[in-house]
């Protein structure tokens, strides 16, 4: 079954993590679910942690 990809947005700077696209330049392959992003991962734009992101409505 195809998994539904979600988008997550940094509430500090607005940067968006799209699960479908992943973030290859940060070492996250396309399709990487938010839950599988390492806990110590930081927003590439502003350096906040995962706790500071919230889901964007699609």
């Amino acid at each position: 079954m195809a998994q539904e990809h979600k988008k997550w947005q940094c509430i500090v700077c607005g940067w968006i993590y799209d699960e479908a696209e992943g973030c290859p330049e940060e070492g996250l392959a396309p399709g990487t679910a938010w839950g599988d992003v390492p806990e110590d991962w930081l927003c590439p734009d502003c350096g906040v942690g995962k706790d500071d992101f919230e889901m964007v409505e699609i």
Binding site: C10, I11, V12, C13, G14, P24, E25, E26, G27, P44, D45, C46, G47, V48
Partner: protein
Amino acid sequence: MTAPLVILGTGLAGYNLVKEFRKHDSERPIIMITSDDGRQYSKPMLSTGFSKGKDADALAMNDAGAMSETLKVEIRTFQKVTSIDAEQKKLFIGEDVIEYSDLVLALGAEPINLPFPGNEHLMHVNDLMDYHKFHEAVKGKKRVVVLGAGLVGCEYAHDLASAGFKVEIAAPDLQPLSRLVPVECGQALIPALQSLGVTLHLGKAATQVIKTEDGVQVVLDDGSVLQADVVLSAVGLRPRVELAKQTGLSVGKAIEVDRHLKTSHDNIYALGDCAQVAGFNLLYVLPLMNGARALAKTLAGQENEIQYPVMPVMVKTPTLPIVTCPPQDESKGSWNIEGQSPHLQALFKDSEGNLLGYALTGECVAEKMKLNKELPASWYK
């Protein structure tokens, strides 16, 4: 009873400081004082709001009441501190007196107002309330002149043009982003902006704004005149230092603080755009967040020096993404530019080949992470 920790300002600096502080200490009483409505929002998102179809209410994430509850703080909105008695650890809001144990100045910076006739017709967008005013002013209008071709000017021009406005940029600079990227990278942005219908008047400074029946005229120093409905000025920011000066704190370009974010007076700290940390006044989100984390620890009793990681600046011009990590002012070296416009990789290296800065445009932005690792590990030492 101990006096509360008092924070002046509820922008990114103030709110993020408290958010970080509460991870260390959930009990200490905190009072936050702001001259605006205290709504929480992401400042970087102010320059992408139009293309996303968002008004000020849509950009606001929480109101002061919700923030007060979440962070367990008292928030005083629409209040302006009139003076600080640093010896007595008291501050005054008119007749009102508030005692503090520690005081944090998170006052931000304010837009530079160009000193020419008609400057009262210029609009600025530096906070959510400004954004609301500007949003209202351009409602149903079409023509916007943006003064300034720096980060904010380019981002606004891009955002407004993407949202269907007819945008003209006028700036004395000969290229966009002149303080952030080398000439070639700045010029690469010109066709990207033009593809959205933006007209650029570079090397031309505005000298006057005249109100007309159907909008405004912007007069440039070569005598040409631009017709617009609204003029947005984005020519730079000036750290808010008046209160610090009046209090007798040491002030340079901004409020001078050491690596503990402490001002020249005990128990008074400064953070964010209003602070000059160990000599550097960095008006970006990354340095501010690093400062908030370091200061939160210090205020919680774990003395902590700020250490800046590599802090690239992203320019939010999606038609041509740009990321830059400019070399520091005193760096000696030269730019080497590779690639074909608009996809450029510019590397600033010293004579021994050490990377000291970079600017990437278009598809080359993917090199960011690799280059960050090549840069000196600790910046702004």
